[in-house]
Subunit: 212 residues, 4 copies
DNA sequence: GGCTAATCGAGACGGTACGTCCGGTCTTGCC
DNA sequence: GGCAAGACCGGACGTACCGTCTCGATTAGCC
């Protein structure tokens, strides 16, 4: 869930009304707000996260938040994007690793995802966003478009290249395979039915690769 | 997510303070509250669902809700349990169907789950509960214990019986297989990355059964 | 404000509905309720005095209060009557002292009243009742009838006897004189515009007696 | 109880917490609240007067009341001050009338006070405030300082000027005389022991003036 | 380098819902 | 049938935030 390139410009647009001028925007305030949101969601959780608290923590007027974001979820989405964007991308490349060994590559990536899910700094905002998205379709659309879809595409790309070299069957359903990897992982993470471990990631990869 | 037998007794306990006497509880009010909660969550969604509205709709004092449930999520959990408990259980049996054809049986069940997920009457409260559970570990625990775990157990039972008759390998990881079935399904449902269809359910079953 | 003979029977009647049978009334509960009311009004004041707290303190069901009294003010009125009734009446006689020296007699009584007003045990419930009566005419009627009117009558009686022996003019307005004694005293007490002292009582008596 | 000049500034301070900025206060809301409070106290009485009803009637958020006043009694005090401040002051002069005839002047003023006490527009809020003040010393202090004390001072001033021209004895206790005028009047008004009439006011003045 | 206009921090405002408290009624089981 | 206990409906409490709205005071970008 990292690795997604961070495009600065469009950001999450404000709800309605007359558009403010992004050129005059205070980057200082923008950063302070995102930082405050991330810090607070970790401290008090998403449900008790309030716009007022974010504004106070950031030393910012409430209007400055409402001017640029339509909801606290949108703030948190941008904050998460910033977080993901700041994360060190493996080695500068933007795709999944491709050593030629499909299973090994997938395990490496899935293990990293497991680690992210287990790291409170990522867990709190991601969990909050996912939960909010489940209930708020509009947010979910942005969330999917900016974080999920690119991530899924990376997996499909890696699988496609594997199929191209004959490691997967001609008719392999790449999308299905991707979801068979990320679905169970996300299921365990979100619903806490069982602890997330590297072993689980490995087993998952082995099972899915065996499918083809 | 239906089929779960509805045990009346423990219910979702109230938050704190001195316990009220369950023997004197008004069943009329209890039902009215659960009904109102289900109706309202379908009408306005979870975020705009309020305890006040539930109380008003149920013709009940707010205190009567607070006396017996610690949060609106807990009310909704009980309401969902009642919903699931009231649902017609296939044919009186409590387990998954077992015709001897594992893939066919699983497809039948997963298609039914897809239909449930696509039915607003089930979608709204389940989605709300899942989202709330993601952020509220205590609620998640009850949610898992009462709805998820029993459901998972049913799948494992069916797979176990298949393994017993040699349709699955000796060392097949039943838990993993179960999660490979429900994980991707839940992933699509919750995050709305793609529409849920019977075809998807079938493909999922085929892929997972092929694993073994 | 003591000295008023305490008639046990009529008490402050309950509001409406079917009359309960006073013969079966628990005197134990009745006393406990009045005691609790007096104690609580001293502790928390009239505004924060609640029927529930009285019931809890008295170890009594709420209904037992509602059965016999129409409001917390009525409870307090009975409690005050009990208090006044229990107070030692100067020397068994029921009227004001009559030594032949009008001014001296009045000073003695007014000084006693000042002391009562300054004694928290009397001050709290009396103040509460007076305040409640100012706003609740029905209560005020009972309050006046049971406490105030008898008290005023005692003064008028004493003044009448003084007039009979020529210590006051033929046409002296006894009611006016009584109010000129009690009015300023009550004014100071209730509104706390100045401290209540024996000196004030004496000055008042001298001024009023000089009138005639 | 009118005639008191209305000083705008100090007003009745809010309870605790961090002080709001009075410069940014909405005068529109302030007036609407005071008007609504006066109207409602006349309609439903003090006991059934609620902050919620005031807010609703004034078209104002509850917080706007709680921000500036600590209690409904405090609101009513300010409302009464506004009422008194708006009242036409005899003829622009701020003191009691002084025609040279002390008894006549006092009768005129006391008759006016009787009329005020008998006018529901003044009776309801004054009665409510007096009752509340009897039980709430802090409120009573403000009430006394802003309404009672100035009123008492006016009487004493008039009496002082009478004493200066020899209409009262050298050693006349002006404070005592003032209280002998207002005490019995207030006593009758508040406790409703007898109807308030001009005749009573006149008799009172005659008796008190005869004292000296 | 001044002018102008929009953003900014601050926070009051009209609202809505919160979770609590209590009023007054009703029900249950004991005495 | 009175009683202790306490659940019930209702409704006000005082608080917390929502999202909108003014207020000066910066702070750009354009002349």
């Amino acid at each position: 869930m990292s690795r997604t390139p961070h495009t600065k410009t469009p950001e999450t647009a404000p709800a309605g009304g007359k558009a403010p001028d992004p050129a005059r925007r205070s980057d200082r305030s923008r950063r302070a707000i995102l930082d405050a949101a991330l810090a607070l969601v970790g401290e008090v959780g998403y449900n008790k996260l309030t716009i007022e608290a974010i504004a106070a923590r950031a030393g910012v007027g409430k209007q400055t938040i409402y001017r640029w974001w339509p909801s606290k979820a949108a703030v948190l989405l941008d904050a998460s994007l910033a977080l993901a964007g700041d994360a060190p991308t493996a080695d500068g490349r933007t795709g999944l690793p491709d050593t030629g060994d499909l299973a090994a590559d997938l395990k490496q990536v899935l293990r990293a995802t497991v680690d992210e899910f287990n790291d409170p700094a990522y867990d709190a905002p991601l969990r909050a966003l996912t939960a909010a998205g489940a209930t708020d379709p509009e947010l979910a659309a942005r969330f999917t478009e900016r974080l999920l879809a690119p991530q899924l595409a990376l997996y499909e790309d890696r699988l496609r290249s594997a199929r191209a070299v004959g490691q997967l069957a001609e008719g392999a359903d790449l999308r299905l395979m991707t979801e068979m990897l990320l679905g169970p992982l996300t299921y365990r993470w979100l619903l806490r039915t069982a602890p997330l471990s590297h072993a689980f990631a490995d087993a998952l990869v082995d099972a899915v690769v065996a499918t083809a």
